[in-house]
Symmetry: C2
Subunit: 183 residues, 2 copies
């Protein structure tokens, strides 16, 4: 079950640098792209930025609609994450192609990807930065996390179902091992 994450804590879903799946909705259908380059930008209102190359169909989708969803996949989705990053969505529906389930977002038109651990519904703030640097700077309008993997206002990335994916470059990926609380 997905629960709402307080907006001021929304950034914590990507604070530790995971690979994300960005979903968009353009010309009547959804699309997905895999993105390693992303970071929080502000707490209140919460902002986030990610980089999507201008040779991706998602670049066009989001530049033209101003809306996207950041979905945080767990390790079990690694194969689909790589698949989503390997083909263009210009002529295929990646949800159908790779067996992912779109569910309605609450504030934007692009769907959440049900199989992911957490989600940020985003509204683009600066189209010019997308055009000049491929940077999609956005406000977070709503945030969601799987109830069993979000406690004490953080993702439980040490749990096997919530281990996030961290891209080291090329075909190398790291996953969280231990988590510590510094007193």
């Amino acid at each position: 079950m997905k629960i709402k994450v307080p907006l001021k804590k929304a950034n914590r879903l990507v604070n530790h640098g995971p690979v994300i799946l960005v979903s968009s909705f353009y010309k009547g259908r959804p699309n997905i792209c895999t993105v390693a380059w992303n970071m929080p930008v502000d707490f209140d209102p919460p902002k986030v930025a990610c980089v999507i190359g201008d040779d991706n169909y998602s670049f066009e989708c989001i530049k033209n609609t101003g809306e996207f969803v950041i979905n945080i996949p767990g390790k079990s989705l690694l194969k689909k994450v790589i698949q989503c990053g390997s083909v263009s969505g210009k002529n295929i529906d990646k949800f159908k192609e790779f067996g992912l389930t779109p569910i309605a977002a609450s504030k934007v038109k692009p769907p959440l990807i049900k199989e992911c651990v957490a989600h940020l519904e985003c509204k683009l703030l600066r189209k010019d930065l997308a055009v000049e640097y491929n940077i999609f700077l956005a406000e977070i309008l709503c945030a969601w996390a799987e109830k069993s993997f979000f406690k004490n206002n953080r993702l439980l990335v040490e749990k096997s179902g919530a281990k996030t994916i961290h891209h080291l470059g090329a075909r190398f990926f790291a996953f969280p091992g231990n988590v510590i609380e510094v007193k």
Copy 2:
């Protein structure tokens, strides 16, 4: 021993979302701040972005000089990383205070932090984005990594000396466990 990393592979040092120590040099002395929010932005020329709050002394240092170094600390530096993020460098020298060693960079005035695993020498590209969003977008001029922890053009974050620090929010930190190569 530190070796130069090919500039086109420089982004890989932060591709997986580690906490960084940002060093600067202003008014005759160096400063350090701890930053969780950072991401690569481009490959060639390589660009990177990080977020430094405008209430930090480092914000002023870098806005006024246009230069900084991204240093990537390993897990053994966690205590110093938290200390560097807990006090202002306006009136103290954090290198001396926390027992860190400045060594000369090759292209910029801010020093590298010797105890870190890797380094990116950076030149600020857009002062206006720092002022408006606290985003420091920069070109990477030179990149370094500890020879024993950089192989096949990636950081060996699965090795105990090169485990990077990933901030989950509050006082929670994750560290890389296993790394896999997807064939």
